[in-house]
Amino acid sequence: MNWLDIGAVDDIPLRGARIVKTKAGCVAVFRTDVEEVFAASNTCPHKAGPLAEGIVHGQKVTCPLHNWVFDLNTGKAQGADEGRIDTYPVRIETGRILLDATKLLARQAA
């Protein structure tokens, strides 16, 4: 594990998201509850919609381009749509968001 401090929880609006730029592409960090965040690929597998711009509800996000819905726990598309987004371990410690960059940095080193 390689936990990187990427910012404060309050930097993301409740039921909103912000992106983190990485060499492996943009990662979206979603704040689904006061003390709950998820991290996943920002790119919808359908037509590459930016998921951080979608509406966040429950533990899901809806893509702003064509309303695909993804479960942020599993990354799986919901309902009739088929597809998956990568998810990344993320946690909160004393108000800071820690993202596990192992996968993200490994890919860039390779």
């Binding site: 990187l4 709950e36 509800h57 410690e93």
Partner: protein, 817 residues
């Protein structure tokens, strides 16, 4: 064997338990250790049950009731008490505790220094009458502040609310100021928090959310008022800060012990010095600090066992919370914060004010929040602690252990809960009681109710509610045709929700979710934008717009394109521009590398392909040239297309450009169910293509022909004549009233033509053309809403922190390990 000298610093709830364990099982007992105990306490008293201070404050208990150990108890066990004495220093070298009335040597030392209330360093925090809520002295000061006194409590957490309720019970006028958007946000979700707020308000407590304190104002050294960041002053005789606690570590730190947020301890509660243990709120164990009583008792037990030479391990466990305020039944347990693969089960009973939410992960329960009915709280808590497999009972879990036979959530309960004087049919002013009476008198179906009461006989938007009333009143004898629900979160239709928001005066999203029995914690991408719009339309002053419930275009005030870039369209009033504006647009196109500049069909200029993070700076540049948002992205007023009218055209009959600009100035910024486009043509040649707009005005010699319901999108529709008026003034009023009626009545995402098909053009004409009073009232309500929304969102966004538009972090420069 000789007696071991044990010194305990702090007589709190944790050390009290340590003493009990040592003296009841240890002394002359199995362990063979005999203790010579000295107990220090800075407060001039012994151990009492601190968590029961709230019932003391509210008058439900007395101080005597909450003493856990009295003088006789200490004497009996030979504990030397040094109360009212603050320990100055721990000399680890000499193994001596230094105190004002003499030093005490120790073999073993237990730290129980507890925590200090956190005092926000606002100007004036040291004034007389500013207190924390921590000990008996604070409690007594609050108890003296009774009837007729004004109190402000900063902090809407557990402690702050208990303080507020206690003082309110004594007759004080209490205001709670909380910086977050909902109360007890660490323990409760918004729905439970909404119910809590409602109950506290019924007790006469004023709750101010999202309120930022800036200063405490005084007079003659005593607190006079709390000032909020808008400049508003909340007058008060007492100000209580209940914003949190911090482990009290000074003594430990000075003694050179390892200290982080709290005093570091291992699983045996031993600090970095093997002869010194620590328990309670002053410790930090495995990164966590503690504020609730259950883990403190666990620590006390383990510490006592460690002292007695027994093997014991302290483990952090799941916690539950209850609020000690009479009449506010809430329960929160477990962890909502971390973990993957989770699922929610939500149960709401609006009629009885009940909300329950369970969080399930891998077939076990990991969290529970309840309000109103918490009887099953401990059962759920048990399932959480034990990690019980709930796969078998998943379907009925939410109904608790007594289920087997419980009824599922009733979609009719919101309607059943309405009072009899609640208005159902706005057109005819018919309340629930009248309809229920009519049904009771034999009107057994919709047609009969319409015939006898006129309810739902006009625009028909309340049909769903009338059907539900039939169902509630007649029970199984009536099968209501199901109107289409908004989405999977509710059984109610758009029309039902709109009416209920008004009838039940629901002014926030959590209020809607709870009172109307939503089945999800916070809606979905379908219902949230709709509900957000309905609340804006009905409560423009009270409700605060929620950007997170808006589609991206309205949240970022630009149109998202297929590649994730945005388009920027400045407003050109009535299609008129000038050289300075065009120059500013050209400069912005250069500066931000805009790849495509296009003229739109609505007579303005579109800058396509702008990067999201450039938006605020670009808006600021355009704003300096006087350009504002064109709302080309909104469910709101888009453009007012005009022809050149009488100014230049030889056929023009009226000043169509002037009227177009007036209309655009009046209507811009308002949110509507769907987009609204206008056109004003100066003569029947119709160069502004007004006859296929949502609202189209065609000027003629005798005045203005106003048509509505046109469209030139997926459906091609020609406008229908709403009215013909003589003056520009009257044209303005009729159009504004019509837009307001559309805002108040239509289903979200219905264009005007679709809405008119449902309610009929005649019905709208009766209201905005024939009924002069109604027209004026509609115009007044529109103006009230526009007093808040008629402003440039670009200017507002450009002024705010730009962070929303930027990445949270950039890891592209981070080196791999």
């Amino acid at each position: 064997m000789s007696k071991q000298k044990l010194v305990i610093i702090g007589a709190g709830m944790a050390t009290g338990r340590v003493l009990e364990h040592l003296t009841d099982s240890g002394a002359d007992g199995d362990s063979g250790v005999d203790w010579d105990i000295t107990l220090f306490n800075a407060e001039p008293r012994g151990n009492y049950n601190r968590i029961m201070l709230s019932p003391v404050l509210s008058g439900e208990k007395t101080y005597e009731d909450i003493i856990t150990h009295d003088e006789a108890w200490y004497v009996e066990r030979g504990v030397t008490c040094r109360f009212g004495e603050r320990v100055m220093q721990i000399d680890r070298e000499a193994k001596v505790v230094r105190a004002p009335n003499g030093d005490v040597p120790y073999d073993k030392l237990v730290l129980g220094t507890g925590s200090d209330p956190f005092i926000i360093p606002l100007p004036g925090h040291d004034l007389d009458g500013v207190i924390a809520y921590r000990d008996l002295e604070d409690t007594q000061k609050m108890m003296e502040t009774g009837a007729g006194k004004r109190v402000v409590v900063i902090g809407g957490g557990l402690l702050g609310l208990e303080a507020a309720a206690g003082m309110a019970a004594r007759g004080a006028e209490v205001t709670v100021v909380h910086i977050m958007g909902h109360l007890m946000e660490r323990q409760l979700d918004e729905a439970a928090s909404y119910l809590l707020k409602t109950s506290l308000e019924k007790k006469g407590i004023t709750i101010r959310l999202m309120a930022n304190s800036t200063a405490i104002l005084g007079e003659n050294g005593h607190v006079r008022a709390l000032q909020l960041d808008g400049g508003e002053e909340l007058p008060c005789d007492l100000l209580v800060m209940a914003v949190g606690i911090r482990p009290s570590v000074t003594l430990a730190k000075d003694a050179g012990l390892a200290v982080g947020r709290g005093v570091h301890v291992d699983d045996q509660l031993v600090t970095s010095d093997e002869d010194i243990l620590a328990v309670g709120e002053c410790v930090e164990h495995d990164g966590a600090v503690f504020g609730l009583v259950a883990p403190l008792y666990d620590q006390a037990k383990v510490a006592a066992q460690t002292l007695m030479g027994q093997q014991a391990v302290f483990m952090q466990k799941t916690l539950s919370t209850k609020l000690k305020v009479t009449g506010c039944d809430l329960f929160s347990a477990g962890d909502f914060a971390e973990g993957e693969g989770r699922e929610d089960i939500v149960f709401r009973d609006p009629a009885r004010g009940i909300y329950k939410r369970l969080v399930i992960e891998n077939d076990t329960l990991v969290g529970a929040v309840m309000y109103g009915d918490t009887a099953d709280g401990n059962w759920f808590f048990g399932l959480i602690k034990d990690g019980t497999d709930i796969a078998e009972m998943r379907e009925t879990l939410i109904f608790g252990p007594a289920f087997q036979g419980g009824s599922p959530a009733d979609p009719l309960s919101a309607v059943a809960a309405l009072p009899l004087d609640a208005e159902i049919c706005g057109c005819n002013g018919i309340c629930k009681g009248k309809i229920v009476d009519a049904i009771g008198a034999g009107s057994g179906d919709l047609a009969a109710v319409r015939a006898t009461t006129k309810a739902s006989a006009s625009c028909g938007t309340c049909t769903g509610l009338v059907e539900q009333l039939l169902e509630v009143t007649l029970g199984d004898d009536y099968a209501a045709p199901q109107s289409a629900a908004i989405c999977g979160c509710t059984d109610l239709s758009h029309e039902d929700v709109r009416l209920l928001i008004r009838t039940k005066e629901l002014k926030s999203q959590p209020a809607v979710w709870q009172e109307l029995g939503w089945s999800t914690p916070n809606g979905c991408h379908v219902c949230r934008p709709a509900v957000n719009f309905y609340l804006i339309a009905d409560w423009p002053v009270e409700y605060q717009d929620d950007p997170q419930s808006r589609f991206i275009n309205e949240r970022k005030h630009a149109n998202i394109q297929k590649d994730g870039t945005f388009s920027v369209v400045p407003r050109m009033w009535g299609g008129i521009t000038n050289a300075a504006e065009l120059r500013a647009i050209a400069d912005a196109a250069d500066k931000y590398n805009v790849p495509t500049v296009k003229v739109t069909g609505g007579q303005r200029i579109d800058l396509l392909g702008v990067k999201g993070e450039d938006l605020p700076a670009m808006w600021a540049d355009l704003g300096r040239a006087g350009l504002v948002s064109g709302h080309a992205y909104s469910k709101g007023l888009r453009t007012v297309k005009t022809c050149v009218g009488t100014d230049h055209c030889r056929f023009g009959t009226q000043d169509s450009t002037g009227l177009g600009i007036r209309l655009e100035r009046a209507l811009w910024g308002s949110w509507t169910p769907h987009k609204v486009k206008l056109g004003v043509s100066g003569c029947p040649r119709n160069c502004a293509e007004a006859t296929c707009k949502d609202i189209g005005i065609v000027c003629v010699d005798s005045g203005y022909q106003i048509g509505v319901g046109g469209a030139a999108g997926m459906d091609l529709k020609e406008i229908q004549r709403l009215a013909e008026v003589e003056t520009e003034e009257e044209a303005m009023d009729v159009i504004i009233a019509f837009v307001q009626l559309y805002r108040e009545q239509a289903k979200y995402l219905d264009r005007i033509y679709k809405w008119i098909d449902k309610v009929s053009l005649d019905w709208t004409r009766e209201r905005v053309v024939d009924d002069i009073e109604e027209r004026a009232a509609l115009v007044a309500r529109f103006e009230l809403s526009q007093s808040i929304y008629r402003r440039d969102p670009w200017a507002d966004e450009a002024k705010k922190a730009q962070t929303k538009y930027e990445p949270l972090a950039d890891l592209t420069l981070e080196a791999a390990e």
